[in-house]
């Protein structure tokens, strides 16, 4: 079980990953040159798959894929936590 402090830290780490890799196309999770993320109820497995590979949505869309050198496994976990938190707060 993750403690509240650890989860907060994970979300904070994820926020920085988001700002570096995702922000310019999805400003604060809203629509930009990419679609909005804060209103999508996608399971974590789909989010991870799409971030890693364009094949996930059958090569549709312009979003690039990010390999493990660009977003490490630890950063990916933090990013997913942040994306879930963003969705929760936007309700």
């Amino acid at each position: 079980m993750t403690s509240v402090n650890a989860l907060d830290q994970k979300i904070a780490d994820g926020r920085l990953v988001f700002k570096n890799k995702c922000q310019k196309c999805h400003p604060n999770g809203e629509a930009g040159v990419g679609p909005a993320l804060n209103d999508k109820k996608l399971p974590a497995i789909i989010m991870r798959a799409r971030i890693r590979s364009r094949a996930t949505f059958l090569w549709t869309g312009r979003m690039p894929a990010f390999n493990k050198h660009e977003i490490s496994k630890v950063e990916m976990n933090a990013l997913i936590a942040y994306l879930k938190d963003m969705r929760k707060k936007d309700k």
């Binding site: 926020r15 570096n20 196309c25 629509a31 679609p35 909005a36 789909i46 949505f57 312009r62 690039p64």
Partner: protein, 488 residues
Amino acid sequence: MRTILIKRVRIFTYILLCSCLFLLEGCFKLRGHYGTKSYEPVARPVNPSDILLPDGYKIEMISGGFNFPSGITMDEQGRVYILEAGYSYGEIFTVPKLLRLEPDGKKTVIAEGSKNGPWTAVDYYKGDFYISEGGSMEGGRILKVSQDRKITRLAENLPSYGDHHTDGVVVGDDGYIYFGQGTATNSAIVGKDNFDFGWLSRKKDFHDVPCEDVILTGENYETENVFSEDKEKVQTGAFVPFGTKTVKGQVIKGSVPCNGAVMRIPLTGGDVELVAWGFRNPFGLAFSPDGSLFVTDNGFDERGSRPVFGTGDLLFKVKRKTWYGWPDFSGADSLSGADYKARKIRPKSLLQKYPNTPPAPIATFGVHSSSNGLDFSTSNAFGHKGEAFVAQFGDMAPGVGAIYGPVGFKVVKVNVETGDISDFAVNKGRVNGPASTLKNGGLERPVALKFSADGNALYVVDFGVLEMPEKGPAPKQHTGVLWKISKL
């Protein structure tokens, strides 16, 4: 083995189903043209309560009815001065003006310019005003307006006839006036988009000028000849006039003043000196509390002969004599990667050799956000001391490229240590956008901002309504507003 295969098929089916659901949600609807091609004033309701701020802050309207306001400064007495641009995209010319706001709400005209706008920025220093004159018709200028209201040209003939103008003026403690000069084009190739803009028909030979000698790769781009009725094709290379081919290894001589640069001149006037180059449109300039110079730079558009997809606007700390990457990089990223491909064209490198490795930006803003005006909080009373505040004019899509939703139209703050960007003043609602689209009385297009001398209030200049109908930008006259944000 068979179990693994079944598991994989199940995962794939699950992903496929989710993908279909995702697509069916209608989340891929692109934003189209909007508004009407009219420049006439429109009613603009103003309601500060439609704007969301962090807890503990309030916003109020100080004055309205400005005609294309673009800059702000204050004198020693704390009196506020507003710049009216005198030009807007959409090729509409009015009279550039420097106005003083009086305590009774009246506006006193301090100076008026000629048909050579837009006046893009103003700074006050020891009794005089310094103005960046965009120079759409006669070239860019740095103007000094003295106490007797006399206008003196401290610099002129700046290469400012193109897409982007002479921008963000700020006076440093070193006795120099620093200013930005935007590029003539989107990505160094003069093309049909520049003809559509309007300036290419006025200045057929105008093109970008590098600040130092550059060696070209010889990439040329084919377009229809906009000056010929028989639709013949012409080829155009980088840093040359429309319809001029370049070859591999060709040297383009650099000179100052140049395009895509931050430059400076002494307060008393004199030769223009290069500070840094390789920017695209270095719009907002400000010194941080520790005396470092920062600049906002507008990213590439998905338009013209060499369109570029997905480059955000950038915030840089300016290092002297450094090249910042235009036209081949966005920040530290080369455009030759697949991520920046637009209309099935991958932007190939135009320069054979780079002056230096371009520095990474401090922060990357939303693509097409038009992150413009810049200032730093200097007060613990206001809070966020040392953080940068940026006015985001908002996108001009679809002219600059396709988007799924409005980008910008707000004020953001940036922690310059971490690059973390967060909203500071933004319209309330489920989605972002200008007040006229959201049908409320909030922010329209913030273009400039400035902290009061005591640092206790942040003034935000809102350009007003500018729509993007099919026939090009349609700014509405006299819809500009001045906002003031302070602690409760």
